[in-house]
């Protein structure tokens, strides 16, 4: 029973952080190249445009949900299971979500990279 709770919380972490990462990535694409914008219009415009972006605000909220799900997961399961499982599943989830929702060109090279990093993180944190 405890295992089900832990894995539900892990899936909640993965879901919320994938949603957050995708929304933040989309928001920053809408803001545009931060370096160029800073040189052109100043830091105030960069910060204002970022904080005023709807995707950014919802993305940060999703990251907050991911953080609190992590706290719940850690109260039910061991950190040696929760941290690597959530981190490596998030890498895979992000690759899938970026392909579908951000129309990023996830070619074989990037799938291999995501897979290797996910496996490496699972080994490293385990």
């Amino acid at each position: 029973m405890r295992g089900i709770y832990t894995w539900s919380a892990i899936l909640a972490i993965v879901f919320a952080s994938v949603v957050g990462d995708v929304l933040l990535a989309r928001a920053m694409k809408q803001v545009g190249d931060v370096g160029a914008l800073w040189r052109r219009s100043g830091l105030g415009v960069v910060i204002g445009r970022t904080l005023g972006n709807g995707n950014f605000v919802v993305g940060v909220m999703a990251m907050a949900v991911a953080f609190f799900s992590l706290l719940f997961a850690l109260s039910w399961g061991d950190v040696s299971l929760v941290a690597p499982a959530a981190a490596s599943l998030t890498f895979i989830g992000n690759a899938i979500a970026a392909k579908i929702f951000l129309h990023e060109r996830v070619d074989r090279r990037r799938w291999i990279a995501a897979g290797l990093v996910a496996a490496g993180v699972a080994l490293l944190a385990g």
Binding site: V22, N94, L102, H103, R110, L116, L123
Partner: protein
């Protein structure tokens, strides 16, 4: 990708790893926090390790957002996962902790993954996927109209003689 952009990616990696480890070091000094004693959170923030850790994580977030403004999510995430390797190397050579063979294998896998994503020339050609996706769609649409025109011309020229 120019030098400045590699510097931003390095910033994402280093700020995340150093921020996390400073926060973890500080929180072990302050002890556990419970929802019943929320004032202990304020004492935690007063701890210099925790304060510096929070500042570093803010710097991580700023550099991460900067990187996402000109690079794909599927490029930034693997490229900055070297932070895990950095943490393991710090654990081994600064803190003199034991790093098991399985963890060294994990380090090798992550490094390989970073090499895979960073070495691809097509990744630098399409640093902003949403735009290149639009361009790709636009060009394919243009191509198909051209093809249609060719077909019509061909059919027309085929009829004429």
């Amino acid at each position: 990708m120019n030098f400045r952009k590699y510097l931003v990616l390095a910033g994402v990696t280093v700020f995340a790893a150093s921020g996390d480890s400073m926060l973890s070091h500080g929180m072990k000094q302050t002890g556990s926090i419970s929802l019943n004693h929320l004032q202990s959170v304020i004492f935690a923030i007063l701890n210099p390790w925790v304060a510096v850790g929070i500042l570093l994580l803010l710097a991580f977030f700023a550099t991460y957002m900067t990187a996402l403004s000109w690079a794909d999510l599927t490029y930034v995430l693997p490229a900055t996962s070297l932070g895990y390797v950095l943490l393991a190397l710090v654990a081994r050579f600064v803190l003199h902790e034991h790093v098991s063979p399985l963890r060294w294998f994990g380090i090798a896998l992550i490094t390989g993954g970073v090499g895979f994503v960073a070495g691809g020339p097509e990744l630098t050609e399409h640093p902003r996927a949403s735009e290149s996706g639009d361009e790709a769609r636009a060009t394919s649409a243009a191509k198909s109209t051209l093809l249609a025109k060719d077909a019509r011309n061909g059919a027309a020229s085929g009829v004429k003689p």
